[in-house]
């Protein structure tokens, strides 16, 4: 950069507070997880056992996937309250097509996901064309799709999935150690290769480079973390396929949001929809797409839940599924005000919530206490979000 003598000197303004697009970042959550591990680990030796951590990993996937969908609309500054009902309804449709009509599992999955996409399309059009607040649209969805779930299940109320069927087996499939290690090596290899390539390109473009130490530490940390997870999970039944699917979804969504024009525009709309519109971004279309994605991911989460339960019943996707999915996204650091947060929030947030749930069940704590503790964690997460937002606006 050439320096010209008479250049503009901006009055100083503290840039010490590292308020990045992800709010205060994920450090409070990581700290919270460590605290949870220490507290429950010391209260009950079962908590940190390989078996329990494997169960935890299995419990994460379904609600975590629903939470991913919630993140899509939260990034726009909107909300989807229907995710739980949609997940239940689509799981029920899947079971009906697969079990009652004897169609193949694949066809049933495709139909269920297509139904979810159609539901999301309806939500999106009601929000953008009829200009109804997303809160109301999806509140109607919450009630209505729940009703449809009860209707299609009929009087029986429960449909069992065959235990040896493809869908039930999904949650009873474990990666052999060699496959798990291969994935770890591949992921770390790709991340390292990408970092090296990026560094080379930046140097060629004469752009400032990140400190090398930071990148090395980050990649080492990633390798250690993945390695530890595989080590622990392999000590029990192996890495569950469910966790790999959820992890792959998180990574894929994050890559799309950070590296594509679509992702950039989603963040732009969440930051300032009017500015995005003036800049020629197709705001309406992207909003509809976000709602479609949210419902589709919710349905996929419902599918994973049905797989774990090997059944669909009247409470599928009901009770606290939706609230936990929203809470996970927010605890993980996605701003309710839109435009800030990354898909990794779903992973971190659901890890926090599920750990608390799991730990309290191990301690035989009543669910009344569990709800209250989860509430405190959620409130703390939102308080951090609000404070960091106020701090960055001033």
């Amino acid at each position: 950069m050439t320096t010209i003598t008479k250049s503009i000197r901006w009055p100083g303004r503290s840039t010490e507070r590292a308020v990045r697009p992800g709010g205060v970042g994920s450090w409070p959550v990581v700290g919270g997880l460590v605290a949870i591990a220490i507290v429950f680990g010391s209260l009950n030796e079962q908590f940190l056992s390989a078996e329990n951590l494997t169960n935890l990993a299995l419990q994460l996937a379904a609600t975590g996937t629903i939470s991913l969908g919630i993140i899509m609309v939260l990034l726009l500054g909107e909300i989807d309250l229907s995710a739980g009902s949609v997940s239940g309804l689509c799981a029920a449709v899947l079971a009906i097509v697969h079990v009652r009509h004897g169609q193949s599992a694949l066809l049933a999955v495709v139909i269920a996901l297509a139904l979810a996409a159609a539901i999301g399309l309806v939500h999106g059009l009601m929000f953008t064309k009829l200009r109804m607040p997303s809160f109301v649209v999806t509140l109607a969805g919450l009630i209505g799709w729940q009703g449809l779930l009860l209707y299609v299940l009929g009087r029986g109320g429960t449909i069992n999935l065959p235990f040896d069927g493809v869908i039930a087996r999904l949650s009873d499939t474990w990666l052999p150690p060699w496959a798990s290690w291969l994935i770890v090596v591949l992921v770390v290899g790709v991340v390292t290769g990408n970092a090296v390539l990026n560094r080379r390109l930046r140097r060629r473009a004469e752009l400032p480079l990140q400190p090398l130490l930071g990148s090395v530490l980050r990649i080492t940390g990633l390798a250690v973390l993945l390695g530890a997870a595989v080590l622990v999970l392999s000590a029990d039944r192996g890495v569950p396929l469910l966790l790999v699917i959820f992890g792959a979804l998180v990574v894929a969504l994050d890559l799309v949001l950070r590296n594509t024009v679509f992702g950039q525009w989603i963040y732009a709309i969440g930051g300032n929809a009017e500015a995005a519109r003036r800049a020629g971004i197709p705001v309406t279309r992207l909003r509809v797409v976000a709602f479609v994605l949210a419902s589709t991911l919710a349905a996929f989460g419902g599918l994973l839940a049905a797989s774990r339960l090997a059944a669909v019943n009247q409470s599928s996707g009901g009770s606290d599924t939706l609230l936990m999915a929203i809470a996970a996204a927010v605890i993980g650091g996605v701003s309710l005000f839109g435009g800030r947060g990354r898909p990794y929030a779903a992973l971190l947030g659901i890890l926090v919530i599920q750990s608390i749930t799991n730990g309290m069940l191990l301690l035989n704590v009543d669910s009344s206490i569990r709800f209250m503790v989860t509430a405190v964690v959620l409130a703390a997460a939102v308080a951090i979000d609000s404070l960091s937002r106020r701090g960055s606006e001033q």
């Binding site: 950069m1 050439t2 010209i4 008479k6 250049s7 503009i8 000197r9 901006w10 009055p11 303004r13 840039t15 308020v19 990045r20 697009p21 990026n198 390109l201 930046r202 473009a205 004469e206 752009l207 590296n259 594509t260 024009v261 679509f262 950039q264 963040y267 732009a268 969440g270 930051g271 300032n272 009017e274 500015a275 995005a276 003036r278 800049a279 020629g280 971004i281 839109g338 435009g339 800030r340 960055s392 606006e393």
Partner: protein, 239 residues
Amino acid sequence: MFAVRGVSKRYGAVRALDAVDLDLSAGEVVALVGDNGAGKSTLIKVISGAVTADEGQLERDGVPVQISNPHQARSLGISTVYQDLSLCENLNVIGNLFLGSERRRWSLLRKIEMERSARALLSSLDVRIQDIAVPVAMLSGGQRQSVAIARALVGDPWLVILDEPTAALGVEQTAQVLDLIRRLRDRGLAVLLISHNLADVRAVSDRTVVLRLGRNAGEFRTADTSPEAIVAAITGAAA
């Protein structure tokens, strides 16, 4: 050379613009002044394509042109910086500079290319921002204004419209933005500056065009005119 010829615009019974003329040429800063309701905003909306005029025409180099939406204005090389800046506070400087016109290959962002162009653009305007990877929310008011103005240059326009660029700024930051406006002129751009602040108008503009109640109410070479004469034209005291 861009010209507005006899443009009128009615909102119901209100004549917002009544046969207004305006000439803009490259390398010149024209200040558009007038009291509230004089028609300044309507005029820039007509030029930037946000509204269409009822009568009159717009000419580019003597050829009539049609501007019926913001997109057409942009493709004619007319770029507008709105008073609210239209920045996405959560995106970084690079993201804001290329908002809506991201460099891409297929659908993938070309981040390195955008960062290089962003740095080149900012340094050519002599705008200094410590870290262009932080969200715009972290920047000062003057820096945000500079980012908004720099963004207006991304499409290589020849006319830049600035709506009250110094309204929300302190003394020092105002001086910096005025410096930036001079730099736009030195680049050979036509600049249309809308302002309430006559001190700013005197500091940077070459010509001052006064609107009053939707009509042309005077045109002055800024350097040869006293502030009193401009105020008189704005308030109609001279008439």
